[in-house]
């Protein structure tokens, strides 16, 4: 339906030739297509607006009940769901209920950032290696593996992380790291659950996303630009550093943001691996922790039994914070990408 897209909008037909006029006139079919496209374009916007509205509506009692302490309280507890009811700011909640998003916000940001730091170099390095060094036939096969990795359900990643990968890491790599005695990177390495394992598994989950975008970006670097570096006597490594990476930098930021958003929102894998610690900050990178998404999933069942309804409202408030964080990272990524694209690069302005 390119004819719809290509037509100059809002142009009068009077100055055009008969043929141009005939082309510029909408047939009934064109109008129908245009209407369908308009609705299709509106659906995501409407869905987002409705979602935000519902989230705010659901979270509103908790926002009033918690006040600012939601961002200062270092635990998240629903209280005694079978005990007395307390009233604060006109809203009821179970006795002992104390809702704080801070440990969850911390867990979400730290786990996703560690995952990003681990995943981006591997994904970008892998993509460059794949495009520049691997013969074309093998490239296709490895690309398929990458896509398969992206298609694995996250619960499988979670189980693999908690039963196989995590224990293996904690017996080997974690011990070596802990032996270095760096604050926050030492102490008991546990059985394999916890912050670092969750971050590593998240990294494995976002590598295919970042790598497949990075692969397309690296492929789009014009051969003549790379030849310019080669002709100056630059080594392949220097060519990657001075031509390939600067060319794809903007796009890579967008790819990383996409991967980060995935890590921020990942629920079930993190829930399985996190060790689900809600009331404590992790004291080391090996400690149990929790994220906002995992907490919502873990608590939803019992929150529904809260007769005051406040537990559900509080979970909605957590969800609202998660939504805000995702928006902000997206926005930040866009600003960063725009800043870098000021160099006027011909390609790689974004994905």
């Amino acid at each position: 339906m390119t004819s719809v897209a290509e037509r100059p909008a809002g142009r009068t037909a009077s100055g055009l030739s008969a043929r141009a006029r005939a082309i510029s006139e909408l047939t009934g079919r064109d109008r129908a297509v245009r209407a369908v496209l308009f609705v299709a374009a509106l659906v995501p916007t409407a869905a987002l607006a409705f979602l935000v509205y519902e989230m705010i509506k659901q979270a509103y009692p908790a926002i009033i009940f918690n006040g600012w302490s939601f961002f200062t309280t270092k635990k998240f507890t629903m209280g005694n769901l079978y005990g007395n009811v307390v009233v604060k700011h006109g809203y009821q909640a179970a006795q002992g209920a104390d809702f704080g998003v801070l440990p969850l916000l911390f867990g979400t940001l730290v786990s996703s950032l560690i995952a990003l730091v681990l995943a981006v170099p591997v994904a970008v390095g892998g993509a460059i290696l794949l495009v520049e060094k691997v013969p074309a036939r093998l490239q296709g096969a490895l690309g398929v593996f990458l896509e398969l990795l992206a298609g694995i359900p996250s619960i499988v990643f979670g189980l693999w992380g908690i039963y196989t990968f995590g224990p293996l890491l904690s017996r080997t790599v974690y011990r070596w790291i802990a032996a270095l005695g760096i604050p926050w990177l030492s102490g008991s390495t546990g059985a394999g659950e916890g912050l670092l394992t969750a971050s590593v598994v998240l990294a494995v989950m976002i590598i295919p996303i970042v790598a497949s975008i990075a692969r397309e970006l690296v492929r789009s670097v014009p051969a003549v630009s790379k030849e310019g570096a080669v002709a100056l006597g630059l080594t392949p490594t220097e060519t990657i550093r001075f031509v390939t990476i600067p060319y794809v930098r903007t796009g890579l930021i967008a790819a990383a943001v996409l991967g980060w958003a995935r890590a921020l929102g990942e629920t079930i894998a993190v829930l399985v691996i996190s060790g689900d610690a809600l009331n404590i900050y992790p004291h080391s990178i090996f400690d149990p922790f929790s994220t906002m998404a995992a907490t919502i999933a873990a608590f939803l069942d019992s929150a529904l039994t809260d007769s005051t309804g406040m537990a559900i409202h509080a979970l909605a408030e957590v969800g609202l914070v998660l939504l805000a964080v995702t928006f902000l990272t997206n926005l930040g990524g866009r600003l960063l990408a725009r800043r870098f694209s000021d160099a006027g690069l011909p390609v790689g302005r974004g994905v």
Binding site: G228, A231, L232, V243, L345
Partner: protein, 284 residues
């Protein structure tokens, strides 16, 4: 400047011989000495028995119809074809008396001595300054980079236009400026030879004239080999011209060198009918 032969036919481009003296009939001091050079892309023999001597501090133009192998030949001279898979080269190709393709010769080292300017301007996605400074820096040249950047840009006749915006992206420049930046970048690593692959084909006539003037100036220090489709350009700037063409052989089409010699001779009294046909526009 001695006028070229007066017996020039109407359609023949008039060579200006580039400088005060016309090129000697034979190359005396050869930078490249090439004999019976053959090159294959897979099973396709792209160059067949090419023999050519390229004179020091001369401008040699490679002309000929599309597909005649002139660019392939040019890219043999700095081993750019090494990057392509499934290629093969045979024959003699001596650079400064040393075989260029002898095992043990570092292609990367060679490319620092034999620079190349491409058909399309291809600056790095970096600042104007970095475009010139990167290669000398990573090559470990012991020089003041600021001075080198100024010197190189001045030699490429670009300094006055960019001296106040060295930190700006190279992509902010016009096509002609970008091409001069690429020449500056090439000069900065102090090569002995500059290879140019249709350096003006993407430029407008004014930018083309600037590049041509630049080539004439650079000749005093560098050996230049230029591939061009523009016969007026070959006639204007080069000292020597080599005419390539395509021949059909049982096993496929191959590029061959028809003849080479001083530009005024090739353009006024070629010894091969095919050269005359091409130059006068009856073929190609």
């Amino acid at each position: 400047m001695p006028e070229p032969s007066t017996q020039v036919s109407y359609s023949r481009p008039v060579p200006e011989a580039g400088g005060a003296a016309q090129a000697a009939p034979e190359v005396v001091d050869a930078v490249f000495d090439i004999a019976d050079l053959n090159f294959w892309y897979g099973a396709n023999r792209a160059l067949r028995d090419v023999s050519l001597r390229i004179g020091r501090q001369e401008i040699t133009a490679l002309i000929g119809p599309s597909g005649c192998g002139k660019t392939t030949f040019l890219r043999c001279l700095n081993r750019m074809n090494d990057l392509l898979p499934d290629t093969r080269i045979e024959g003699r190709l001596d650079f400064d008396g040393e075989p260029l393709y002898r095992p043990g010769v570092q292609a990367i080292e060679i490319r620092r001595r034999i620079g190349m300017v491409f058909q399309k301007p291809n600056p790095f996605p970096k600042s104007i300054y970095d475009n010139v400074a990167i290669a000398p820096k990573v090559n470990g040249m012991k020089v003041n980079l600021d001075d080198l950047v100024e010197e190189s840009l001045s030699r490429a006749a670009l300094w006055n236009e960019v001296k106040d915006k060295l930190k700006q992206s190279a992509f902010s420049l016009s096509g002609g400026q970008q091409q001069r930046l690429c020449i500056a970048r090439t000069i900065a690593v102090k090569p002995e030879v500059i290879l140019m692959d249709e350096p003006c084909s993407a430029l407008d006539p004014l930018a083309t004239i600037r590049i041509e003037e630049l080539m004439t100036e650079l000749k005093s220090d560098y050996t230049i080999v230029i591939v061009t489709h523009n016969m007026q350009q070959a006639a204007r700037v080069s000292d020597r011209t080599a005419f390539f063409t395509v021949e059909d052989h049982p096993e496929g089409r191959s590029g061959v060198l028809v003849e080479s010699g001083p530009t005024h001779k090739i353009f006024t009294a070629p010894s091969d009918q095919r050269t005359d046909d091409y130059i006068t526009g009856r073929f190609g």
